[in-house]
Each structure stands twice: as C-alpha cells, then as structure tokens.
C-alpha cells in the first residue's frame, strides 16, 4: 500500500482523475453538429446567428450537416404545421444518438401567435425538447445563451440517459 501511494505521489500533477461521463460530456459540448430544420421567418435570424457577425462557430456548433444521420442537435427553427409534423418526427428518428432538440422561437416552443387550425402548439407535443428559446424571432444573444445552457446540460449528462429511443407519434391517418 505504501508502495502504491509513493507511486501516485510520483505522478504529481501529470494525472487528472475524472469519470468517463465527464470526459465524454466535455468533448461533446464543444463539438455539436447541427441540423437546421428551418421552416419560417426565424430562419432569417438563424442566418445572423450562423453568419460571421455573431458567429455560432465560437461555441463549436457551426457545422451544419446536410443529413440528419450525421447531426447531434436538431435545430427546429420556425412554425411547424400539422402537415409538417410527420416530417419533423421522421427527421428526428433518423438522427443517431446522442441527440438533442433545440426549440428555436416562440412558434416552435408553444405555437406562438398561431393558435389556429394548422399549427402544432409546441413541438414538445411530439419530440423531447432539451432547450427552449422563445422570441419572435429570438435575438442571436438569446440563441447563444440557450446554446451555452445546453452545453452545460450536455456536460453534466450521464451515459445512462442514452439511448433515448424513437419519438412516438401516431397520426390518425397514416400515409
């Protein structure tokens, strides 16, 4: 035992003890690949977020993937109609785990001002949402605040959370 303590002491500051989850979480939080699912006017503000002035790349979440299979975050940007909802669920279910859902804008969070015949009243009725950013549209600062909060969430996550499984969704009329 004494021998072992001496060995550990000899290592000094060259070793850091941690958990595997913490290391993985630290790695994940700065390397999000995003899948922007853009349907409406919030997309204009997303362009500002992604562009050079506000520059989402500073937070390591700049790289948009053109296939949901390669993405980590589903950025749902803009009003989701009943007609669009099955497509959104299909995209979510195609993403590989781990995956997070970022609800971008008032319409996505709650239906926004569209309390009508065609609009989904918040995508949390069909998908597990990790972060809500309201606003019509939200300012880039709000989006970054949401993103940083999501990073904190991801860093603290335990691997037992995954896999989360498919989103269950049963429309009355199947096509």
């Amino acid at each position: 035992m004494e021998e072992r303590n001496a060995e550990v002491a000899a290592l000094g500051d060259s070793v850091i003890l941690s958990t595997v989850d913490a290391v993985i979480g630290w790695g994940r939080k700065y390397s999000f690949f995003t899948y922007p699912f853009i349907t409406a006017c919030c997309g204009m503000e997303f362009m500002s977020v992604a562009g050079p002035r506000y520059d989402i790349d500073r937070f390591g979440a700049a790289l948009p993937r053109f296939s949901p299979r390669q993405a980590d975050i589903l950025l749902v940007v803009g009003t989701i109609s009943h007609k669009q909802a099955p497509i959104l669920v299909k995209v979510y279910n195609q993403m590989t785990e781990p995956k997070w859902v970022f609800s971008y804008g008032a319409c996505v969070c709650s239906g926004g001002m569209y309390n009508d015949y065609s609009t989904v009243q918040g995508i949390d009725t069909i998908l597990p949402v990790d972060i809500y950013v309201p606003g019509c549209p939200p300012r880039p600062e709000m989006v970054f605040d949401g993103l940083i909060k999501l990073q904190e969430l991801v860093a603290k996550e335990r691997s037992s959370k995954w896999p989360r499984g498919e989103a269950e969704f049963a429309p009355k009329v199947k096509r």
């Binding site: 009943h82 007609k83 909802a85 309390n115 009725t125 429309p171 009355k172 096509r175």
Partner: protein, 161 residues
C-alpha cells in the same frame, strides 16, 4: 377622360352590374353567370388587353351581407400593354358557392382557384383539377370561412393538438 371601370361597363353592358372606384382603385362587379365571357373579353379587347391575372381570392361576408351574396370572388387583372389594372368582383351565395372556372381564359388561375376552394369552399365549375392545395386531403371543411370554429383542431396527420 372616362374612367376605366366606366369603359368596361360600356364594353360589357350585360355582364357588369356596377362600376366604381375605391381609394383610387377601379373595380367592376360582374354577374356570376357572365364571368368567363367577361374575362375573355377583357383579355382580348384591344382597348383592355388584360393579359395578366395577378390575383384571385375570396372574401366571406358572413353576417354583413345577404345569405345569397355571402361570398365574393375577387380577381385582380393587369394589362402589360396598357399598364392599367382592374379589380373584378363576383358575388356568390351561401347555399351554392360556385361559379365558372376562368382557367380556360388564364391558365395561371389554376392554383388560385384551388386555394380559394381549399380555404373558402368555393367550387369552380370546369376546373381541371379542383383539389386541396395547401391543406391535406383528409381535412374536413374550409378553415377561412368565418363560421369555422377558431378553436377547432383537425390533427389527422399531425399531433393531438
């Protein structure tokens, strides 16, 4: 100079019920039965030449007009030759909200008429493909009618809200 709407009234005395202008914009109200012939004349007549059908939409005047004039179909026409424009209105009743399609006159009216049918339930007789364009096939009713309940949900292909 005689105003455009007045000239149209003289050109189509049988079809035009009234003519006038509102906020400097000319309009004519056309008899429902005469709409296709009137449109064809407006397109082909040398003094009119309305070769561009800019817009076609419907208005629901529920509670504001008589039962037999509940809906109004509004056409916006423009002449690229003469640079003049006219608004043509046609009233249809609540019991039989239908009129003849103007697709034979302007092919571009196809999707506009489908939209008016989808959201207001106006039937365009003789339309080549009158089916829903914005909503999904399973949707029941026409949501932009004023008597469509604002809280009514038909989540047939979407989620339960």
């Amino acid at each position: 100079m005689v105003e455009l709407s007045e000239r149209i009234k003289r050109l189509l005395p049988d079809a035009v019920l009234s003519a006038g202008s509102s906020l400097g914009q000319q309009y004519v109200v056309v008899r429902r039965e005469a709409v296709v012939e009137a449109m064809r004349k407006l397109r082909d007549d040398e003094t009119m030449l309305f070769n561009f059908m800019m817009d076609l939409t419907a208005v629901d005047y529920l509670g504001k007009r008589a039962h037999d004039a509940r809906y109004e179909i509004v056409y916006h026409l423009y002449s690229l030759k003469h640079h003049h424009r006219i608004r043509v209105k046609v009233s249809v009743g609540a019991d039989d909200p239908s009129l003849d399609s103007i697709v034979p006159v302007w092919k571009g009216a196809d999707w506009f008429e489908r939209e008016a049918w989808d959201l207001y339930g106006i039937t365009f007789k003789g339309h080549p493909n009158l089916k829903r364009i914005l909503l999904y096939e399973e949707f029941v009713g026409h949501p932009l009618r004023k008597d469509y309940p604002i809280k009514k949900r038909q989540p047939l292909i979407g989620p339960e809200n």
